[in-house]
Subunit: 357 residues, 2 copies
């Protein structure tokens, strides 16, 4: 007979390493446990002598890494008696907040930038029954508003300034070490609000501190060139990039992310929108992995830095893919030609196939 | 130190139970191993005394259960020296074929019905570098054409008439038994081309035959009312439903699916489009699970049959959610109101929140 091995989510798996009260009700959608996929074709086609993996967090329940933090934040909110959560969001956080609030049976309010949210993310927040407020402003404006509202209203902020969020997100580092048997040499991430790079560093450090990992990786954070405050050295006012998930000018986890850079001997760098989209197509067309544009930033940066020697040959590298490509179908469709329309006849189909070879 | 436990996909996990040649190159995107999520709120809110789970196969790499079969079909195609795969598709199969062909480095040709494919699925097939032919016809016309083309051209059919597809898909039943420690009492599925119900039955039967499971579940297959040939008792010519993934009038696995029904003591039934969409919203709004419309068919059928007593109280039930809600953002957006647009001021946001309570 089989034995019961049902996966119950990341709090269940990593409970001893997470600040969860005994006996509290866990709000979970079986998030985490996402695949670590080795890239074969991309390094081979470019003659890159590295072992490179993507942590595909777009396969979480709502299609992004945000679920890792949200299971913790909403579990804590419910434990504290909260009846509503609120967040500012470029889209992924709102989907996660809406989903976990629904699962918990509480309300979710999400503030999204007007007209700059990916279509799939809007669909999620609406279907998942959040109250969606599109503000006449950008993410950073929304973030300021959420802080003000939460100081006056009994709603729990579930942006990554909520410390439980990063606690949940650090489990991605645990999973990577558990999967590989040790930490990678380099870890490459897209950087927007800078919570995720901070959370990974926390996770790697905890595993290193108790010798579960023999070392910690060098952390490389990549921002979209039009939304790159870490490269500018200061917050920027009007961030702009096709990678809407990281269209953020004033990262909330600035100090933590800078500490991760310094302590790991890592770096931040900027990637142009053209490079982001080319890498998104590369991942899809050469490896069969469809991630959202922001996700491609990590792989774009890794490839550039492998080619330049900044990441040396022989390295073991993990790149985080933060979100699912289905989150932003418009960007995908815009980049491709139109499908051919053909008659439903053998001749028409055969000639279309012949012309494609 | 941690030990290496990286998940390598369903062929690696279930290799002894799959027809895979020794030493052949495995084409995998780490598919399978999807969550089995227990529904809490839906049964509680309705006073239903059952233990009910959803197998969320929308969290596979391309967002549907089709990846399970495609890893097998493309692995075999590559092993046979094939340079191209072809399929007819309502969208999910085409995304999976495109992804695994890209991973393998071979070509994919997909025939989709004109104007009746979900937006996210089209985005996937295009980004994943398939040659997409929209035919002036429906899925069944495409299926006939694919068979003709494959008989004259050196391309491998990867529709579910390819026997390796069902072999891969049967692993979902293995995972469920492995997760629960035994087979459920009832298994509810959406039925379109009828390959998946056939594959599940095969998987449950294999585990039962060698006593890994103590019994096999009753299989309940649910079709969209406008595309319900098993209810009509014969193929139908112009299937129509909002659940595009099961908009199929002439199921290719007719005999296998009828055998599963008969051997398991199960049934087929029809679900209206209204019921499908209401259940899609119920899953999202009450449990935080956003699945595509076709997926909701299984849960709609289960709830109806639990209420009627056809599925008795105390039963343990698994419903398959075949695809991710992000596959079809239009359907989601159409069902919801528009987001409120508010000024980026504290007063505007607070009054919008107050009015929502």
């Amino acid at each position: 007979m089989a034995t019961n091995t049902r996966y119950l989510g990341l709090i269940d798996r990593y409970r001893s390493r997470l600040p969860v009260k005994d006996g509290c009700r866990i709000i979970s959608l079986c998030e985490g446990d996402t695949p670590l996929i080795q890239l074969h074709n991309i390094p081979r086609n470019r003659g890159l002598d590295v072992e490179i993996y993507v942590k595909f967090d777009g396969l979480n329940p709502t299609g992004s890494f945000k679920d890792r933090g949200m299971t913790m934040a909403v579990t804590q909110a419910v434990s504290d008696g909260s009846q509503a959560v609120i967040c500012a969001s470029t889209g992924n956080t709102s989907a996660a907040a809406a989903a976990y609030a629904a699962r918990a049976g509480i309300r979710a309010f999400v503030l999204i930038p007007e007209g700059k949210i990916a279509y799939g993310k809007l669909a999620q927040a609406m279907m998942l029954n959040a109250t969606v407020l599109q503000i006449r402003g950008n993410f950073d404006d929304g973030m300021s508003l959420v802080k003000e509202v939460a100081s006056e209203t009994p709603v729990t902020i579930v942006n990554s300034i909520n410390p439980y969020r990063l606690q949940g997100q650090k489990t991605a580092a645990f999973e990577i070490v558990d999967a590989l048997g040790d930490a990678p040499d380099y870890h490459c991430l897209p950087v927007g609000n800078a919570g995720n790079i901070s959370a990974y560093w926390m996770g790697y450090s905890e595993y290193f501190d108790d010798s579960t990992a023999s070392h910690r990786p060098v952390m490389a954070g990549y921002q979209a060139a039009g939304a790159a405050p870490f490269i500018a050295g200061h917050p920027i006012d009007n961030p702009d990039t096709v990678a809407t998930a990281i269209r953020i000018g004033n990262p909330q986890s600035w100090d933590k992310a800078k500490a991760a850079e310094k302590e790991s001997g890592g770096w931040f760098d900027a990637i142009s929108d053209e490079e982001i989209l080319a890498t998104q197509r590369m991942l899809a067309g050469e490896e069969g992995i469809f991630a959202e544009p922001a996700s491609a930033t990590s792989v774009a940066g890794a490839i550039r830095d492998i080619k330049s020697g900044r990441i040396p040959s022989g390295s073991r590298i993990v790149c985080t893919l933060t979100g699912n490509g289905l989150k932003d179908p418009d960007i995908a469709i815009e980049q491709c030609g139109k499908p051919q329309i053909v008659d439903a006849t053998l001749g028409a189909v055969e000639s279309a196939i012949a012309s494609a070879f």
